[in-house]
């Protein structure tokens, strides 16, 4: 489709637009369900059984169970929705965000205290 997507080229970044939203619809709606305490209990008691109640793809379910947030995002998840999984697990936003960077929790925390990731980051630094 001819939509302008100038944001497509930013490294390590997925913009949640209509295409992503369509792809991730049920994944994100599943996340919303975790805003109710009784649903969090059901999910924690049997993740697979709870996920199977949603018309999500197998890939999406696997990504949720693995807590692979990068994969969730590539499958249409949005971080504000996915945060409900972290909340259910008792994880902070910092732990969640850090988990996507390949850094250890401590290293990520130290990076933030040291001023955060530079805006000049290209994603190629790690490979040096």
């Amino acid at each position: 489709m001819p939509l302008d997507k100038p944001y497509a080229g930013i490294p390590g970044t997925t913009i949640f637009d209509a295409d992503q939203s369509r792809k991730g619809y049920w994944l994100n709606q599943f996340c919303m369900s975790l805003m109710k305490a009784e649903n969090r209990e059901k999910f924690k008691a049997d993740e697979r059984a709870y996920l199977d109640q949603w018309p999500m793809s197998e890939d999406q379910k696997q990504a949720v169970m693995a807590r692979d947030l990068n994969r969730c995002i590539s499958l249409g998840g949005n971080i504000y929705f996915l945060a409900k999984i972290g909340a259910t697990d008792g994880k902070s936003f910092q732990q969640m965000a850090g988990s996507m960077t390949g850094m250890s929790e401590d290293a990520y925390r130290e990076m933030m205290i040291g001023g955060g990731r530079p805006a000049t980051w290209t994603g190629k630094e790690e490979k040096k």
């Binding site: 970044t13 949640f16 972290g86 902070s92 936003f93 965000a97 990731r117």
Partner: protein, 285 residues
């Protein structure tokens, strides 16, 4: 006549709320964040508004993918504090200002902004963290609040210029309300942060501080900055900053009045994943 006396700008990082709710505000990490709000808490006691028009974004809380309003105004008498997945924050419920809110909706729609009117909506950290930052932990919030939620979750989000013009329309609306009310308008969210992907943790102090400079001195020019620059320079969630332009557009100077006074400015990195920015601008009486 209702009048806009001041605008307040602040990040609304959920971890800040958690730090207050869990009694961690004296820890050195958090002390640095909260020190930036000591002045503000004194200031707001001395300049207590009747109503705060609070611009924020819903973080997939009241609005799922079933319905995504670009601009939503809360016209209800009260708003419950949302359970975002860890139980509702232990803060007072939010009292609305239904008559003023309905008046603003009426006026702003007639100025060609296509608002969605909302009468039932739980409010999330985007709204309650700024209240906590500015007011501490009172038994009830000391003023009424009109929640105004902006879509910054699914693209396309409204442009900076659309937000700025909306602020101007809100000013007209408020100033045509014939009750004598002291109204503040708050813009929340930002500053630079990215919560997703391998680039998570991005912070851009230079860009943020330039944003603060321009917000004061050249808001209309700043409103021309496009989305791609926000995402590139301030991170994917830095786009929340467009909401500050709504509050700024409602200040007197934009309508030909005097420049506002900068009462307070604060910038700190980090709170959790985010740069914290904060600004108080007063209209001259």
């Amino acid at each position: 006549m209702a009048r806009i006396t001041a605008s307040v700008y602040t990040s609304h990082v959920p971890a800040i709320g958690a730090a207050m709710d869990l009694g961690k505000t004296q820890e050195p990490y958090w002390q640095k964040v909260f020190s930036g709000y000591d002045f503000s808490r004194q200031w707001i006691k001395a300049n207590k508004p009747d109503v705060v028009f609070l611009v924020y974004n819903d973080h997939a809380t009241a609005f799922s993918l079933d319905i995504i309003p670009t601009f939503a105004i809360g016209t209800a008498a009260e708003f419950a504090v949302a359970d975002e997945g860890w139980g509702p924050r232990p803060v007072p419920k939010v009292e609305g200002a239904p008559e003023l809110a309905a008046h603003i909706a009426h006026s702003v729609i007639q100025q060609d902004f296509d608002l969605t009117i909302v009468n039932r909506m739980d409010v999330d950290h985007g709204l309650t963290v700024p209240l906590s930052l500015m007011c501490g932990q009172p038994r009830e919030w000391p003023f009424k609040v009109i929640p105004f939620a902006v879509n910054v979750v699914q693209y396309p989000v409204p442009s900076g210029m659309r937000c700025f013009r909306l602020g101007q329309a809100i000013r007209k609306a408020i100033e045509s309300f014939d009750e004598d009310l002291n109204v503040q308008i708050w813009g929340t969210g930002g500053m630079s942060h990215q919560l997703q992907g391998p680039r998570a943790g991005l912070i851009n102090k230079e860009w943020d501080n330039r944003f603060l400079d321009r917000l004061v001195e050249d808001p209309e020019g700043l409103a021309g900055v496009n989305h791609i620059e926000y995402v590139k320079e301030a991170g994917s969630e830095g786009i929340e900053l467009v909401m500050w332009l709504i509050a700024r557009g409602a200040m007197a100077d934009v309508a030909g009045g005097p420049k506002p006074t900068v009462k307070h400015r604060f910038y700190h990195v980090p709170a959790s994943n985010t740069a914290v920015g904060h600004l108080i601008l007063e209209n001259k009486q």
